[in-house]
C-alpha cells in the first residue's frame, strides 16, 4: 500500500486539504470531434503555474463548481509547462457542462494523481504507440514527452484509429507527427468515407498486419476496453513480452486517491496503483473486472 | 399446509413445468424465514409455511426470465397480478402457489410484549386465537391480534385471488382494522403542521439505504427517478428534506400498484413508519377510484387507464 513519491505529490495539495481543488482558468478550447473537446487551462494562482509538475499518464479531477467532478488524464506533455490540457468526451452531467464552458471560465482541478509511464526506463528503446478514439489522450502526453527528447529514444511508431475520420482526435498533432520523418505514423478508420486515404480496419487487425518488430521495443496501448483486450493477444503473438506492454485503465472514480473504494480491480485501486499498468501486471489481477 | 406445498413443488419441478421454485425456508435467526430458490426436486423438503413468511417474493419475479413457481400469500399474489398488469411478467411464465394467509406474526410486537429481544425469546406458538410467548422460563398468552403485523390486521384479502394452487388450512383470524389502521388514524387526527413535524423528525433518521425501494415488488424501474442526474430531481444527500421528498414521490409512483404488503416498513432499519404513507395511498386509491391493486389481472394498469366516469374532483 505505498503510493509512489507521495512527498512529491503532496506539494500540490491545496491548503493541506486533498479534496480542495485549485482554481484553473480556461485558456483555449479545441473542438476535436462533435462530442470531444480539449480544454487548455492554467492555474489562477501564479505560483502554481511556475511550480506545477506532473508526469505522463497521471490524471486529475476536474470540477465544474455546483455540478460535480470527473476524472480526466492530463493529455498535455510534462515537457511543456506553459499550459495544461485535458480531453473531455461528452457522456454525462459533468462532461456536458464542461462542453458548455467558454474561455475564461473557472474550473476546479485536483491532481496529479495516480502513477505514471516510466519514461526514463523507455529510453534507448523502440516504442510503438497504439491508440483508439479518445484513448489517444493519455498517449499524447507520453508521445510529446518522448518527441521533445527524441534523440533519447529509438524508433517511434504511432498507430491510431477511430470509428471514422471525423472521430479522430488531435488532428493538428497528427499532422505534425505525419510530417515528422523521424517517426512513423499510421492512421486507420473502421469505416472510411470517400476522401480517406489511410488504412481501413480496426486497430488490432491493422496492428497484426503491420507486425512491428518486438526487438528492444515497448508497446503503449490505450483506447476503449474492447480494443485494449483485443490488442494484447496480437502484441503477444508478434513477440512483445507482457512486461513491455503498457496501458492505462479506466474505471469510475470519485476521490482519486484510494479512499472511496470504487475503482478497485481485486485488491488494487486503479487511482492509487494505476492507471498505468503493464500487461504482465494485468495478467496477475485477481479479478476479471477490468 | 407444508406437505401439500412440497408435493406440488416436487411435481412441478419433476415434470419440468417450472425451472425453479421461489419459496421460503427456515432462516438463520430465530423466528425468521428467508427466500429460497429451488431447482432440484429433492430440495422441496426445505420449503416451509408458517407465521413468519413475511417477505413478498414477487420482488424476484422481475429478474427471472424462465418459468418459475412462486409461493405467495394474499398480498403477495396481488403484487404478482400488478406485475402482470404492468406487463413486467407473463402469466404463462409463472405458476402461482398461493397460501391462504393466516396472518404473519410481528416479532417486534412480541419483543415489546415479552420485554426482551427476539434472540432471548424461547418460543412463539399459536393455539386458536391465542399467541403463546415463552421467554426465560415465563409464559405470556395474548390475543393473536396483538402480535400480528398492522398490515395483516388490516388485511383486505388474505386468500390469493389469482393462483394455480391454493394451500389452505388456517383461517385468518385476529383481523382488527382499528388496530391495523391506528397509526394512520393518529396521523390523520393531527393538524397539517404537526404531521409535517412528525415526518420531518422521522426522516432525519433515514440513511437512504433504499431498502424500501429494493424490497418493493412494484419498484422495478431500471433507473429509479432518484438516480437521474439530468435532470437531478432530488439530491442523494440524506437530509430530511431529500429523504422525505424521495419517499413522497415513491409513494405516488407506486399508487395503484402497491398492495400494502408492509414490506417497506419492515425492511427499514430505522423503523420509519412507511406503511403510514403507502398504506394510506392504497386506501385513497380505493376510495377515489374503487380500485384495489392487483385484484384483476385483465384490468389495465391503474395509472395507465382513464374512464370518463372517474372521480372528477382531482382534475379540477
Amino acid at each position: 500500500m505505498i503510493i509512489a513519491d507521495l512527498k512529491q505529490k503532496q506539494r500540490f495539495i491545496n491548503k493541506g486539504n486533498v479534496y480542495l481543488p485549485h482554481i484553473v482558468i480556461v485558456d483555449k478550447i479545441i473542438e476535436e470531434t462533435p462530442a470531444i473537446r480539449t480544454i487548455r487551462f492554467h492555474f489562477k494562482e501564479e505560483q502554481l503555474n511556475r511550480e506545477f509538475k506532473f508526469r505522463a499518464g497521471q490524471f486529475a479531477e476536474l470540477s465544474v463548481f455546483g455540478v460535480g467532478e470527473a476524472t480526466f488524464c492530463i493529455c498535455s506533455s510534462p515537457t511543456r509547462n506553459e499550459f495544461w490540457e485535458c480531453c473531455i468526451n461528452r457522456v454525462g452531467l459533468v462532461t456536458d457542462r464542461l462542453h458548455k464552458v467558454g474561455v475564461g471560465a473557472e474550473l476546479g482541478f485536483r491532481g496529479p494523481y495516480g502513477n505514471d509511464f516510466p519514461v526514463e526506463a523507455m529510453e534507448g528503446k523502440n516504442i510503438i504507440f497504439i491508440g483508439g478514439g479518445i484513448g489517444l489522450a493519455p498517449l499524447r502526453s507520453l508521445i510529446w514527452n518522448v518527441m521533445d527528447n527524441r534523440n533519447k529514444f529509438g524508433n517511434i511508431a504511432i498507430l491510431y484509429g477511430a470509428r471514422s475520420s471525423s472521430d479522430l482526435c488531435f488532428k493538428y498533432d497528427i499532422n505534425l507527427w505525419t510530417q515528422d520523418k523521424s517517426i512513423k505514423t499510421i492512421l486507420t478508420v473502421d469505416k472510411a468515407d470517400k476522401d480517406w486515404t489511410g488504412k481501413v480496419g480496426m486497430v488490432p487487425v491493422v496492428l497484426k498486419e503491420l507486425a512491428p518488430s518486438a526487438d528492444n521495443a515497448i508497446a503503449v496501448v490505450c483506447g476503449p476496453p474492447v480494443m485494449i483486450r483485443n490488442t494484447f493477444p496480437v502484441l503477444e503473438e508478434i513477440g512483445f513480452k507482457p512486461e513491455d506492454i503498457f496501458t492505462t485503465l479506466e474505471k469510475k472514480m470519485k476521490c482519486g486517491i484510494g479512499k472511496c473504494g470504487r475503482c478497485n480491480i481485486g485488491n488494487i485501486y486503479v487511482c492509487r496503483d494505476g492507471p498505468v499498468f503493464t500487461y504482465a501486471q494485468i495478467k496477475k489481477f485477481i479479478s476479471d473486472e477490468y | 399446509m407444508e406437505t401439500e406445498l412440497r408435493i406440488e413443488a416436487r411435481n412441478l419441478l419433476e415434470k419440468g413445468t417450472v425451472k425453479s421454485i421461489i419459496g421460503f425456508t427456515k432462516g438463520s435467526l430465530k423466528f425468521t424465514t428467508t427466500p429460497l430458490f429451488i431447482r432440484n426436486p429433492d430440495d422441496v423438503h426445505k420449503l416451509v409455511v408458517n407465521r413468519f413468511i413475511k417477505n413478498n417474493l414477487a420482488k424476484y419475479l422481475a429478474e427471472v426470465k424462465e418459468c418459475v413457481g412462486i409461493v405467495v400469500k394474499g398480498c403477495d399474489s396481488r403484487s404478482v397480478v400488478s406485475l402482470i398488469q404492468d406487463k413486467q411478467i407473463n402469466r404463462d411464465n409463472v405458476v402461482i402457489l398461493g397460501i391462504a394467509c393466516p396472518g404473519m406474526i410481528d416479532v417486534f410486537k412480541v419483543e415489546q410484549l415479552a420485554g426482551c429481544d427476539r434472540d432471548l425469546i424461547d418460543d412463539i406458538s399459536v393455539s386458536d386465537n391465542v399467541a403463546i410467548i415463552d421467554f426465560g422460563g415465563r409464559r405470556k398468552e395474548v390475543e393473536l391480534s396483538q402480535v400480528l403485523y398492522d398490515s395483516c390486521l388490516d388485511c383486505k384479502c388474505p386468500v390469493p385471488t389469482e393462483y394455480d394452487l391454493l394451500v389452505s388450512g388456517l383461517s385468518h383470524i385476529g383481523r382488527n382494522e382499528d388496530v391495523g389502521k391506528a397509526k394512520i388514524q393518529e396521523l390523520k387526527r393531527m393538524l397539517p403542521e404537526q404531521r409535517w413535524t412528525f415526518w420531518k423528525e422521522q426522516f432525519r433518521h433515514c440513511i437512504r439505504c433504499y431498502a424500501c425501494r429494493q424490497i418493493c415488488p412494484v419498484c422495478y424501474c431500471e433507473r429509479c427517478f432518484i438516480e437521474s442526474s439530468e435532470p437531478r430531481w432530488l439530491s442523494p444527500m440524506a437530509q430530511w428534506q431529500h429523504n422525505l421528498g424521495f419517499q413522497i414521490i415513491r409513494t405516488i409512483h407506486v399508487a395503484g400498484r402497491c398492495t400494502d404488503c408492509g414490506e417497506c416498513e419492515r425492511a427499514c432499519p430505522q423503523n420509519i413508519p412507511l406503511r403510514s404513507m403507502v398504506g394510506e395511498m392504497s386506501d385513497l386509491v380505493f376510495k377515489m377510484f374503487n380500485y384495489q391493486a392487483g385484484s384483476d389481472k385483465n384490468a389495465p394498469s391503474f395509472m395507465a387507464a382513464y374512464e370518463v366516469t372517474e372521480a372528477e374532483e382531482i382534475f379540477r
Binding site: 503510493i3 507521495l6 486533498v18 479534496y19 481543488p21 482554481i23 470540477s63 463548481f65 455546483g66 460535480g68 457522456v91 473557472e106 476503449p224 469510475k252 470519485k254 486517491i257 484510494g258 479512499k259 472511496c260 473504494g261 470504487r262 478497485n264 481485486g266 485488491n267 479479478s287 473486472e289 | 399446509m1 438463520s28 435467526l29 430465530k30 425468521t32 424465514t33 428467508t34 430458490f37 409455511v49 408458517n50 417477505n55 420482488k59 429478474e63 393466516p102 417486534f108 434472540d119 432471548l120 418460543d123 412463539i124 399459536v126 388456517l170 440513511i207 437512504r208 439505504c209 433504499y210 431498502a211 429494493q214 424490497i215 442523494p236 444527500m237 440524506a238 419492515r266 425492511a267 432499519p269
Partner: protein
C-alpha cells in the same frame, strides 16, 4: 497504564465533568431503534438494556453526509471555503467489534494522502469502550479475532464489574479523562475478577465464521458464476449491510448548487448499488452476483491482501438487519464447504 474504577452511581457525575470539554454521545432509544444520541444530561443506566446500536459509531468519523467545500461566485470568480472545524465528541459505550471497525477504517484513511475531513473528526473524537455482556445471536466477533470483553482500539476501556466499572486508559486522550473525584484506583484483584466475569461472554457467541484459508478459497472460486449467482439470488441490492457495517467506508462526492452558490458533499455509498461502478459506456458490475462477489471478496480477500486484516468484525448487523436474512456466515460456510457450522440452535417456528 494503571487501572482505575468508578461506581456506576457516579457515571452521570463523571459524564457531567466530561461534558465541559466534549459533546457526549450515549446509547439512546428513538423510534425503538438504538443509536448513539446526544446525552440529555439526565441520569444514565443504558448498560442495563444496551446491546448494540443499529448505526455503528463509524458515523462520527464518516457521517452519512458531510459538507466538504462551500463555493460562491462573485465578480472575481469562484471563492472556495472549507466549513469550520467541529466540536470534540466523546462516544460512550463503543463495543469491541465497532471499535475494531473504526480501527480498520482508520487504516484506510490514514494510508497515503491525508483525508482532511476524516483527520479532523478522528482528532476530535474520543471513544469509551464497554465490554459486551449479552451478544445477539447474530454476533460472531470471536471468529474474527475480536474479544467481546476487551478492546485495545478505544481510548478508555470499561469493564462491567457489578457496581463499578473498571477503567483502563489506552491512549493519552483516554488518560486525560480518568481524573477527578469520581475516579479511584482499582486493585489487581478487582481487575482480575472483573475480567474473569467479563470473559464468560465468549461462551454466549454461537455463530461462527470459518476464516481458515478463506482468502485462498475465495480466490479459487472467484470465477464460479453459478456459485455466486446462487449466493446472490435473494439479495435485494439495498444498502443496509454496507451502511450498517462498522468497517465499510465507501463514499461518493456530489455537488449541490443553486444559482451562484453551492457546496460539495461527501456521503455514504454502497458497492451493492448498481450505479456504484456505472461508467458512461459500461458497468463492470451490472449483474447483482458480481456486486455480491465484490462485497464478499473485498471483505475476506482483497482487503486482507492489502492490510492483513479482514474487513469484518463479526458485529452481525448485516445478518440481524437484512430484510431477507442473507447471512454472511452461511455464505462463507457454503464457499468453504463447511455448511452446517454457522447455524445457531434451530428455531422452532411453529405456525
Amino acid at each position: 497504564m494503571a487501572f482505575k474504577k468508578t461506581a456506576k452511581n457516579n457515571i452521570t457525575k463523571l459524564m457531567t465533568a466530561w461534558s465541559h470539554d466534549f459533546k457526549i454521545m450515549v446509547p439512546t432509544r428513538k423510534n425503538s431503534v438504538i443509536e448513539f444520541g446526544d446525552w440529555d444530561g439526565k441520569d444514565v443506566d443504558f448498560w442495563v438494556w444496551y446491546r448494540n446500536t443499529v448505526v455503528p459509531p463509524k458515523v462520527f468519523l464518516l457521517p452519512v453526509w458531510e459538507e466538504m467545500i462551500r463555493f460562491s461566485k462573485n465578480n472575481h470568480g469562484w471563492g472556495l471555503e472549507v466549513p469550520g472545524s467541529e466540536q470534540k465528541v466523546l462516544i460512550f459505550g463503543v463495543r469491541p467489534c465497532d471499535a475494531r471497525g473504526m480501527a480498520i477504517i482508520n487504516d484506510v484513511f490514514k494510508d497515503g494522502y491525508p483525508d482532511y475531513y476524516y483527520d479532523i473528526k478522528r482528532r476530535r473524537t474520543v471513544t469509551v469502550g464497554l465490554n459486551c455482556v449479552q451478544p445477539y445471536d447474530s454476533c460472531f466477533c470471536t471468529s474474527m479475532g475480536i474479544d467481546p470483553a476487551m478492546s485495545k482500539d478505544v481510548d478508555v476501556m470499561l469493564i462491567d464489574a457489578g457496581d463499578d466499572f473498571i477503567m483502563e486508559a489506552l491512549t493519552d486522550a483516554g488518560a486525560k479523562l480518568l481524573h477527578g473525584e469520581f475516579i479511584r484506583s482499582a486493585s489487581a484483584q478487582e481487575v482480575q475478577m472483573a475480567r474473569s466475569m467479563a470473559s464468560s461472554v465468549t461462551g454466549k457467541i454461537h455463530r461462527k465464521l470459518n476464516t481458515h484459508g478463506l482468502s485462498e478459497k475465495l480466490l479459487d472460486r472467484f470465477s464460479d458464476t453459478e456459485l455466486w449467482e446462487e449466493i446472490a439470488a435473494k439479495c435485494l441490492s439495498c444498502g443496509i449491510c454496507t451502511f450498517l457495517c462498522p468497517t465499510c467506508f465507501c463514499f461518493e462526492i456530489y455537488d449541490e448548487s443553486f444559482k451562484k452558490q453551492g457546496s460539495r458533499y461527501r456521503g455514504w455509498d454502497s458497492c451493492s448499488f448498481k450505479l456504484y461502478t456505472q461508467m458512461p459506456m459500461e458497468n463492470p458490475r451490472e449483474e447483482k452476483w458480481k456486486r455480491i462477489r465484490q462485497r464478499v471478496c473485498h471483505k475476506f480477500e482483497f482487503h486482507p491482501i492489502n492490510t492483513g486484516n479482514f474487513a469484518c468484525t463479526g458485529c452481525g448487523r448485516c445478518i440481524r438487519l437484512c430484510p431477507v436474512n442473507w447471512d454472511i456466515t452461511q455464505v462463507i460456510a457454503q464457499i468453504t464447504g463447511t455448511m452446517d457450522s454457522s447455524l445457531t440452535e434451530p428455531s422452532k417456528n411453529k405456525v
